[in-house]
Amino acid sequence: MSIPASATTELPGLHAAARRRRPARWVRRFLRNPLSAAGATIVALLVGCALIPGLLAPFPGDAGPSVHFDRASRPPGAVHWFGTDEVGRDIFSRTVYGARVSLALVVAVLGIALGVGVPLGLVAGYWNGHWSSAGIMRVTDVFLSVPPLALALAVTAAFRPDLWSAMLAISFTWWPWFTRLVYGEVLSRREEPYVEAARALGQHDAVVLIREILPNVVSPVVVKATLDVSFVILLGSGLAFLGVGAQEPTPDWGAMVARGRTFLPNNWWMSTMPGLAIFVAVMGFNLLGDALRDALDVWGQ
């Protein structure tokens, strides 16, 4: 997975003309595009679902292991928008709570991946030529030589299958992407005059790295992180679908799809509806990521 396809859909230089980074301008440019606005709306809704699911879900009690056999396996309708599952829980409510699970996964994975990957990339880029840099980058290559899902799957074998092990496993596969990105950025930045000037002033290496170089690396990292959100959601739901991620009764979208599959084809809503949520969420973050990339124009140069 792994290549943000969106990164290739726009021609480089298309926005180069309008690249003065005044905030007002990029905010305006961002909002002008209806697709960006759609992406932002979807993401805002998801964040809302994650923060206050109790207010948005019509049957908040159904997020847990509750059972209502009197309304089991109802097809989508006016009361239960997405239908109910085999024990009568409202699928729409569970889907709303699922946003919390997915976003928690994303925050944890990106937090760990950034926390590990960015410092390693900074070090490897700044002291390029030193053995430690070579070491870091070789290890990075090794991690990148296994497709993330396969590696994450292998890692989850080491733990009890639950949300936490899925988080760990995905983080384990994710940091090298940031190391490689930051490494490349630092390589190109460290030769610039202002870095040399800071060094000539006798600044400590660590200060130069953090005060002069790091701020310049932030925007590609932010854009990559935004585009990565959708991949992490897909990967996480994939692991849950395979049964090594979040477990019942946690309302995880992937796990719900897997569980609903047992009741195909008659109770089709049980697995298609949570799957739809994955699709919409991923789509929203993709649109937002694309829009941010164009607005900040990181890779258009």
């Binding site: 991690f143 030589s145 899902l149 799957l153 074998a157 799957g275 699709f279 991923v282």
Partner: protein, 332 residues
């Protein structure tokens, strides 16, 4: 060319070694004592000790690693706790189904994606272009296991056009393990059609998001090429538009498409894990997923190793193709 291949393969060695270490470390992190898992709760102390000795688990980690690598060179991946067979034999049985699925998906994605991309580059902002955008933008956001279920419900259950799950009603006589190829080689027409019908939905599921990516990238690359000055010169010399696109444009635009295809291969392999589960496809990924759930660590290591190695080799192959497509790439 041969020197380049050799050099490239030598470059790959540290990565492969690192991969071995990584997978080994991951597999030894498995708590809950694989021996106890394998022998069950009834096992006596002596049985456990004997089994540990048999697997070499009583020795220090570096020694275990040495033993493991030595085994690899003999083609020995250990025994699967779950199936009680050699992991090597299991992989040999399950690999062809995955290879068949991934290969057909790659062919479909490239053979449909590239022409689609070219068409929308040549006729930008027409219905072709809009259609490809309409498919491509959501295409990459589709969770493949969900697409698989939708196709299953719609085309297999409702309309009965395709089989719901499985690889074939009757397997053709085995030569390579690839059913389509085997059926063609033995001239078994019914088996060929049967295998093809089983292959349609899994292939489509696996290929669709990739197809979208390939189409968009081809479009971007082609638009970039068609705008270059040399295309104008060709036009001025009266080269026919068709020849310009296919002969001069495509050749120049293909390099970036190739890069994508190389990476795509990894995406297809890992997504095969999900697609195989949906369609009960008896492949390596389904085997690997079951092994993970059963904490069958020899099998997990074997599958991860095969996936990692094939990914590494695919990238070497793409490097070689660069030179074929783009003569400016020199191998030294």
């Amino acid at each position: 060319m041969r020197d380049f291949l050799l050099r490239r393969l030598v470059q790959v060695l540290p990565t492969v070694f690192g991969l071995l270490v990584l997978i080994f470390v991951v597999s030894r992190m498995i708590p809950g004592d694989p021996v106890r898992l394998a022998l069950g709760p009834e096992a006596t102390k002596q049985q456990i000790a004997a089994y540990e000795e048999k697997l070499g688990l009583d020795r220090p980690l570096p020694a275990q690693f040495g033993h493991y690598v030595a085994g690899l060179f003999r083609g020995d991946l250990g025994e699967s706790f779950r199936t009680s067979r050699d992991v090597r034999l299991d992989i040999r049985d399950f690999l062809p189904a995955t290879v068949e699925l991934v290969t057909t998906a790659l062919i479909v994605a490239v053979c449909l994606g590239v022409p689609f991309g070219i068409l929308s580059a040549v006729y930008p902002n027409t219905w072709v272009d809009n259609l490809s955008r309409l498919v491509a933008v959501p295409g990459v956001a589709l969770p493949r296991f969900w697409v698989g279920i939708l196709l299953q419900v719609g085309l297999a259950y409702q309309l009965g056009l395709f089989p719901i799950v499985g690889r074939a009603t009757r397997a053709p006589q085995s030569i390579s393990g690839l059913y389509l190829l085997d059926a063609a080689l033995t001239g078994d027409g019914t088996a060929f059609l049967d295998a093809a019908r089983h292959l349609v939905l899994p292939t489509l599921t696996l290929a669709l998001p990739t197809l979208a990516q390939v189409a968009r990238l081809t479009r971007a690359a082609m638009i970039d090429v068609l705008r270059r000055p040399f295309m104008l010169v060709h036009a001025a010399y009266g080269v026919s538009p068709r020849r310009m696109v296919w002969r001069y444009g495509l050749r120049n635009g293909l390099t970036s498409v190739l890069t994508l295809v190389g990476m795509t291969y990894g995406a297809l392999i890992e997504n095969a894990f999900l697609v195989e589960v949906v369609f009960s496809w008896p492949g390596l990924s389904a085997y690997g997923a079951a092994a993970v759930l059963a904490k069958d660590f020899n099998a997990v290591v074997g599958v991860t190793l095969v996936v990692g190695l094939s990914f590494v080799l695919a990238n070497v192959l793409v490097d070689l193709l660069y030179g074929y497509v783009d003569p400016r790439v020199r191998y030294n």
